[in-house]
């Protein structure tokens, strides 16, 4: 990035719910400061102004779900010095990747009167499946503090401090009582990446895996514990099949229950 010139930030949307882009607008205390330190060059949800690329940093939300998406993500990559994917759709294909386990033509016919109007791919996949990605920020939705950390790291050419360890570590650090040990509630915490702030166990609920797999998760062992708790096989499969169903570690584990 040239000295004295503000870096250009672009925010792109693919198939998604807009929640991760919204996390940027939800940085109420930091938004104006952020806007002062970068040039918001393309952010359709927030502005009708569009400044041409190349862009120093592109944030990409959403999954690749249509033939047009495939072309567009390649264009975005070409125009972006650094490309950061944000959220479960962009990093794993999102909830819409549940279609990857079913026949998409049947889906279209179930929903639309005129299936030939609809142009869609049979799968929903992560951005990283199509182009090289400089950093993947997890979460459904992402955590806004982690987003600010990643942006700050890239703006200062340093490595983001985003842990890859499990939710369990976060619970222990916060002193949250383990819902699985203490109450026998099935919890994906042992195989899920930290970062949300152990939200679910704090509400006396098991983690539902919205931050996706931690590094080297032992899913087989956790599923064994779920069986011990009396969870039926189909429920175990569905536990892995939500927002990060197409993340390789979760997909593989859920397929053991096919």
């Amino acid at each position: 990035m040239a000295i004295g010139k503000k870096p250009k930030l672009a925010v792109w949307k693919f198939s998604s719910c807009d929640g991760c882009q919204l996390s940027l607008l939800d940085c109420e205390d930091e938004l104006l400061q952020l806007a002062a330190s970068v040039e918001i060059a393309y952010f359709l949800e927030a502005t009708r102004a569009q400044i041409r690329g190349p862009y120093d940093i592109s944030l990409v939300e959403g999954s690749i779900a249509t033939p047009e998406d495939v072309e567009r993500i390649c264009q975005v990559r070409r125009q972006s010095k650094k490309l950061i994917t944000i959220g479960a759709c962009a990093t794993a294909g999102g909830i819409q990747a549940l279609r990857n386990f079913k026949d998409v033509d049947q889906f279209i016919q179930a929903v639309y009167a005129h299936p030939h109007y609809i142009d869609t791919l049979a799968t929903s996949t992560s951005i990283g499946n199509h182009v090289s990605v400089d950093f993947e920020l997890r979460g459904c939705p992402i955590d806004k503090h982690q987003l600010l950390e990643v942006l700050s790291a890239f703006l200062n050419s340093r490595k983001p401090n985003v842990p890859r360890y499990s939710q369990c570590i976060e619970c222990k650090q916060a002193g949250t009582v383990c819902v699985m040990v203490a109450q026998g509630i099935p919890c994906l915490g042992p195989v899920t990446q930290a970062g949300c702030g152990n939200l679910c166990p704090r509400c006396r609920r098991g983690c539902y895996g919205c931050f996706g797999p931690k590094e080297t998760p032992n899913t087989a062992s956790l599923s064994h514990w779920f069986e011990q708790l009396g969870m039926p096989p189909r429920e175990i499969q569905h536990a892995y099949r939500s927002f990060n169903a197409n993340a390789p570690e979760f997909r593989k584990e859920s397929e053991r229950y096919d």
Binding site: K13, F14, S15, S16, C17, D18, G19, C20, Q21, L22, L25, D26, E28, D29, L31, L32, A35, I40, L44, E45, A46, T47, R48, A49, A65, T66, D69, G94, I95, Q96, L98, R99, K102, V104, F107, I108, A110, V111, Y112, A113, H114, Y117, I118, T120, S124, C140, P141, C196, L199, C200, R202, C203, R204, R205, Y208, C210, E235, H238, S242, F243
Partner: protein
Amino acid sequence: MTKPRSRTVKVNALARVEGEGALYVSIKGDAVQEVKFRIFEPPRFFEALLQGRLYSDAPDITARICGICPIAYMLGACQAMEDALGVVLPQPLQDLRRLIYCGEWIQSHVLHTYLLHAPDFLGYEDSIRLSHDYPGVVERALELKKTGNRIMEVVGGRAVHPVNLKVGGFYSVPRRQTVRELIEPLNWALEAALATVRLFAGFDFPDYRYDYTCVSLRQPEEYPITQGRLVSNRGLDIPIDQFTAHFSEEHVAHSNALHGRMNGGEAYLVGPIARYNNNFDTLSELARQSAREAGLEPVCDNPFQSIIVRAVETLYACEEALRLANAYEEPDAAAVEIVPHAGEGHGCTEAPRGICYHRYRLDEAGRIVEAQIVPPTSQNQKQIERDLWGVVEKNLDLAEDKLKWRCEQTIRNYDPCISCATHFLKLTLDRS
């Protein structure tokens, strides 16, 4: 005779809306030939994805239809499941649901009015550029929005896709002290909301009126948020389980979202103006007074004034949240116990953008056999096209770029959530 001049207004990617949409208007001479509000947000097939899942999965999965109004989906799904399973929530848990919904109204309305819509009235490309000239206004907006998000965090665990809601109630209820801590920021928010109504009242509103068919929920005692009967200003008054008997969707070539219409084929309006027009009498005294001072009549027929109506509703939501927070005592139980069985149920709430209807059929194990979700933006699509038609006809003398901007502003009157609208309704009728 000279050939009438042909013009087209095209916006290939609409800004300051949630999701991906486009606009195409063709004009010949002084006549509008065609208007197409296109939704090209990719389909996500929620209704198909839900089949085979347990009833209890529906709130968290459907929340992902929209990151801006997840409560509308979570509570619509919860309500429908509770209806199917014969469960009624005790009042304290219903109050807690109303409280979190007030949080969603506040953050969603403030996001739309200040950050997405107000720049149109003041001639700015976006709110960041607006903040250079009016820093205090944008700072107030962000603080107000934060108050809404804070309610969602206290009751739901987080602002986007809350984790604490479930069929039957909540996983845990917030501590009394934590809810009480909302009171101080809400007292500030109430004043900020009053100032917001006054600020928006001073905008210039393009001259355009329409005699809308307004559809909303209605309750005799309070302004509708979480429940009510379905009513219209043309005499409709039905329980929500009759929704599909009166409303349907059609699949048109230019949109990935099904178009909602009344069974006579008529377009209708849902959202703040429809709610306000049908329920002015149940608004609080303060909200009614502030609406009058802002120049609104009890019936609003200028869609550009929806920005004032949203500010009035933000004010009301702050008042309601304050009332509920002041009265809050920790309920004895966080949820009602559920015993799954076969059944069919309906849910309908007032999302910030209008009524959001859910219907599910369950098998004996409580698994979803069939799901139908009708989001507000798909219901408004047909009316959006009507408004565009009328606005273009009235503004044919505007220069291209001004006319284009005016069209965009017309669409933004609806706060369209395009991500929501593309999440598909199961269509059972093929009219071709």
